[in-house]
């Protein structure tokens, strides 16, 4: 009875050029006018399947049926023409253009046959905004919008292109709990007006709240499809991987010792004069994990880049172990015992075309242990790499396998293996488990706790609320480049409370925030 389905994907197999089988005989059938959840652990193949549907990736086997008829989707343009829209996890917007300009981009209303009719673009934008009750200012520049708004623009962009089937790839990952609730209302409105929505997530409470039916993927295969009525979160969880997805990390209470990192009155402006960091003050002590919560883009990235020497600073002072890092190079700071997991694994964390071994030694290749009068000591380097592959359970063919051939989780383990193995005094850990599978996430999180127990001061920056609350001993919240709250005990914080600070709805008094200096 395929005619009741608006969309069917049958027997989809996708192999990436590095040999990774992301989808194997995957089936997905979506009914018209439902919100269909696509769930699975990170790395289960959800995003790949949707990229195949949207024409971003080609598939090796299988067929796609739209309204019961086989279709050939070769690229996103043909997907859009067939009424499929996608909101990517990482927004595809032009920051310097206005909302209306972004929405009509590529399908601009014309006047006199050639010129862009901007007035009509704004009118059209307002029209669909009203139709779907999504409130966005059409003339605002996208770069000035908060994340939740940008996401609305993405959705509007798809609707403007007459999307009947809308794919949302982990839309709530970047949102605060309040923004998420708003999004859900809007999505339900859209469903009621006849749209079909595919909702990708690994947060089961959200799926349960929002969706009608669910398809579960595991390790690139379909586990099954079911009605969400009468299905418990535990049952879905079991289908996904037999584990509870909300990871609970076992850890004892922290035993903080001396202050390792001290940041005093740190401020930073962007090149065009906008304040990025405003008067930041905090201390991190040996043997504790200080979490930095906040919606992305509120200064966290710059903060971690300044502490690790990648970004210069002039106003304020940063001391590590009592020594100022002003004017010091990345290497000098690393040699002071600082390690750094960058939020952007592919850009900073690894050299994708280089081998595992070459990636592991990039911070120590010139230490006497691994280098003698200019020549690399390959015997020692092999030994180190073999040991780290064992210890961090990195799945690879051999020490020279190019890192680009590894899965995301294993890539991140390569980064962690390097950054955690030099007995760091201070570790700046930025989004350590973004986009990696649950097994690797659990592993990396446990390693961070292990590091803390060995006496490392850990500064954990994460947009993942579950991660921040599970891992940190105490935490600060950043909003608009400021610290708006200091919460001394992470165990006692609720997601809602955290969400309010992250959105800037609530702000603590300066005296409360000063608690993070541990002065008394």
């Amino acid at each position: 009875m395929s005619d009741q389905y608006i969309l069917e994907m049958r027997g989809i197999t996708k192999v990436y050029p590095n040999g990774f089988i992301a989808n194997k005989d995957v089936n997905l059938a979506v009914r018209e006018g439902e919100i269909h959840a696509l769930v699975g652990e990170n790395g289960a193949g959800k995003s790949t399947l949707m990229k195949v549907l949207f024409g971003v990736e080609s598939h090796e086997e299988g067929e796609i049926l739209l309204h019961g008829k086989p279709v050939n989707i070769t690229d996103p343009i043909s997907a859009i023409d067939m009424g499929i829209g996608m909101v990517h996890q990482h927004f595809m917007l032009v920051p310097s253009l206005t909302v209306a300009e972004n929405i009509v981009l590529g399908r601009e209303p014309k006047k006199y046959g050639t010129l862009i009719d901007m007035a009509k673009a704004v009118r059209d934008t307002q029209e669909i905004c009203e139709k779907y009750n999504l409130k966005v200012d059409p003339t605002a520049r996208v770069r000035d919008l908060p994340v939740g708004m940008k996401q609305k623009v993405e959705i509007l962009k798809a609707l403007y292109r007459n999307a009947q089937v809308l794919i949302l790839d982990e839309p709530t990952a970047v949102l605060t709990p309040q923004e998420t609730a708003e999004l859900f209302v809007e999505l339900k409105n859209m469903r009621d007006s006849g749209h079909t929505i595919i909702f990708i997530s690994h947060k089961l409470n959200e799926v349960k709240e929002l969706c009608d039916r669910v398809t579960v993927l595991r390790l690139g295969r379909t586990v099954g499809t079911a009605d969400l009525d009468g299905l418990t979160e535990q049952e879905i969880s079991r289908m996904m991987g037999g584990r509870d997805v909300i990871l609970e990390i076992q850890k004892d209470a922290a035993e903080p010792k001396d202050t390792v990192l001290s940041v005093k009155d740190l401020s930073l402006n962007s090149s065009d004069g906008r304040p990025i960091l405003r008067n930041i003050n905090f201390n991190v002590r040996a043997g504790e994990i200080l979490g930095v919560a906040g919606v992305e883009g509120n200064g966290q990235r710059e903060l971690s880049e300044i502490i690790t020497g990648l970004h210069a600073f002039t106003r304020g002072e940063i001391e590590i172990g009592g020594e100022s890092i002003k004017g010091k190079s990345v290497k000098q700071i690393r040699r002071m015992g600082v390690s750094h997991i960058s939020e952007d694994r592919m850009t900073y964390g690894i050299a994708a075309r280089a081998g595992v071994e070459e990636n592991v030694i990039s911070d120590r290749y010139d230490m006497p242990e691994y280098c003698k009068s200019g020549f690399l000591r390959f015997k020692e380097i092999h030994k180190l790499t073999e040991r780290l592959i064992q210890e961090f359970r990195i799945k690879c063919d051999d020490v020279n396998q190019p890192v680009r051939m590894l899965s995301g989780g294993n890539m991140q383990k390569v980064v962690a293996a390097r950054e955690f193995s030099l007995e760091p005094k201070l570790s700046i850990v930025n989004q350590p488990t973004r986009g990696i599978d649950v097994g690797a996430t659990e592993f990396v999180r446990n390693k961070i706790v292990e590091l803390r127990d060995q006496g490392t001061a850990v500064l954990l920056i994460s947009a993942d609320l579950n991660e921040i609350l599970e891992l940190s001993d105490s935490l600060i919240v950043m909003h608009g480049g400021e610290i708006v709250a200091y919460l001394p005990d992470s165990q006692k914080v609720t997601e809602e409370e955290l969400g309010e600070y992250m959105l800037g709805i609530r702000k603590q008094e300066p005296e409360e925030i000063r608690g993070v200096l541990h002065e008394c």
Binding site: V15, P17, N18, G19, F20, I21, K24, E60, T308, L310, S329, V330, K331, I333, R334, R335, H340, S342, T347, Y348, G349, I350, A351, A352, R353, A354, E358, I361, S362, D363, Y365, D366, C371, G374, F375, L376, F378, D397, N400, Q401, P402, M405
Partner: protein, 358 residues
């Protein structure tokens, strides 16, 4: 078979297929233009091996290319494309010549001085685009190409005004001192001592790039410069030193060439060796170990073209077509990519089946 192995094999296959296709085109062209196609084709492919002298020609021609392509391997490994080897090679030859006729020295030492001086001037020349890049973020492809012209006309000026020997009868410098010349090492050919130096340069380049910390830094920077910065490497220093080492090798190559093959400096323009180096390094995938094979191959088709231009009605320029086709196909990322992807899919399916049967 692992994905890594498939990729390696496909890389080699790609080069071989590129060579075969270019040969097929050559044969087709010869058939179209030649009145004696059979003979011409034979002369092209087998002519270079007819006499010892011609075989010697292949080696002689490969010597300068070995220098410049090793220079390119080191320079390009940083990910920055410096096109200046041509200028470095030319100015190295000119500077080496100045020492060769301008100074008296003993025979063992004299060529060494010439080569070092030629190398140093080459290194300074190659440093210019690197410094411009570091200081003002000027694209090194453009600046290095421009520097080639500057160097070449500067050289012509120096030759005309300061080095010219009016008694030579043509635009050439004063004759080199006998002590400065590199001796011929195989009689019956013009293969000179420069071959030994070139082999040493190949070995040096391999060891330097793959076994030392400096080579490691250069390669990591080439793979991902932001990764290098994040890891604590000083990328500006790496860029400058790698370009200077490359320039030194190219300049030394120029000096070696003039001292081994000529009695006077007589280059009115930069020889092709500089750009040949870029081509050879590309075919060799920037791996110094593969450089000799690629250099000999290029020299071989050059000699073949030379033979047919003398024995038949086909011009030597046909060789440019072969070069063009090979470079295009070797450089083309997507060439044979479907076959490669099919093999990888098959291998992955086999892996999966194996894992599941466990």
């Amino acid at each position: 078979m692992s994905v890594k192995r498939i990729e390696k094999i496909m890389d080699i296959a790609k080069t071989l297929v590129a060579v075969l296709i270019s040969f097929a085109i050559t044969i087709l062209l010869i058939c179209l233009v030649s009145s004696t196609p059979g003979e011409t084709i034979r002369d092209f492919f087998l002519g270079p091996f007819d006499t010892v002298r011609r075989m010697g020609n292949i080696i002689e021609m490969a010597i300068p290319i070995l220098f410049t392509s090793c220079a390119i391997c080191i320079m390009y490994s940083t990910g920055h494309i410096n096109m200046g080897t041509s200028g470095c090679f030319y100015i190295g030859g000119l500077s080496g010549s100045a020492i060769a006729f301008g100074f008296q020295s003993i025979s063992g030492l004299h060529p060494v001085l010439c080569l070092i001086f030629g190398g140093l001037i080459g290194a300074l020349t190659a440093a210019i685009p690197a410094v411009l890049r570091i200081k003002w973020d000027i694209n090194e492809i453009v600046s290095s190409l421009m520097i080639n012209y500057i160097v070449q006309y500067l050289g012509a000026y120096l030759l005309r005004n300061f080095m010219l020997d009016p008694t030579a009868g043509f635009n050439a410098s004063i004759a080199y001192e006998e002590t400065a010349k590199l001796p011929t090492i195989i009689s019956g050919t013009r293969i000179h001592f420069g071959l030994i130096i070139a082999i040493a340069v190949v070995v040096f380049s391999y060891v330097f790039l793959k076994k030392t910390k400096w080579g490691y830094q250069i390669r990591m920077m080439g793979y991902n410069d932001r990764f290098a910065v994040y890891s604590g490497m000083g990328v500006t220093g790496i860029l400058l030193s790698s370009q200077m080492i490359g320039g030194f090798l190219a300049g030394m190559g120029g000096a070696t060439e003039v001292l081994g093959m000529y009695n006077r400096f007589e280059w009115a323009a930069a020889p092709t060796a500089g750009f040949d180096g870029i081509m050879v390094a590309a075919i060799a995938h920037r791996n110094p170990v593969m450089v000799p094979i690629a250099a000999l191959f290029l020299a071989y088709i050059r000699v073949g073209a030379d033979v047919i231009s003398r024995t038949s009605d086909v011009p030597a320029e046909i060789v440019s077509i072969i070069q063009g086709v090979i470079i295009m196909l070797v450089g083309a990322q997507m060439f044979l990519s479907k076959l490669r992807h099919r093999e990888i899919v098959k291998a992955s399916a086999r892996e999966l089946a194996k894992e599941e049967s466990k």
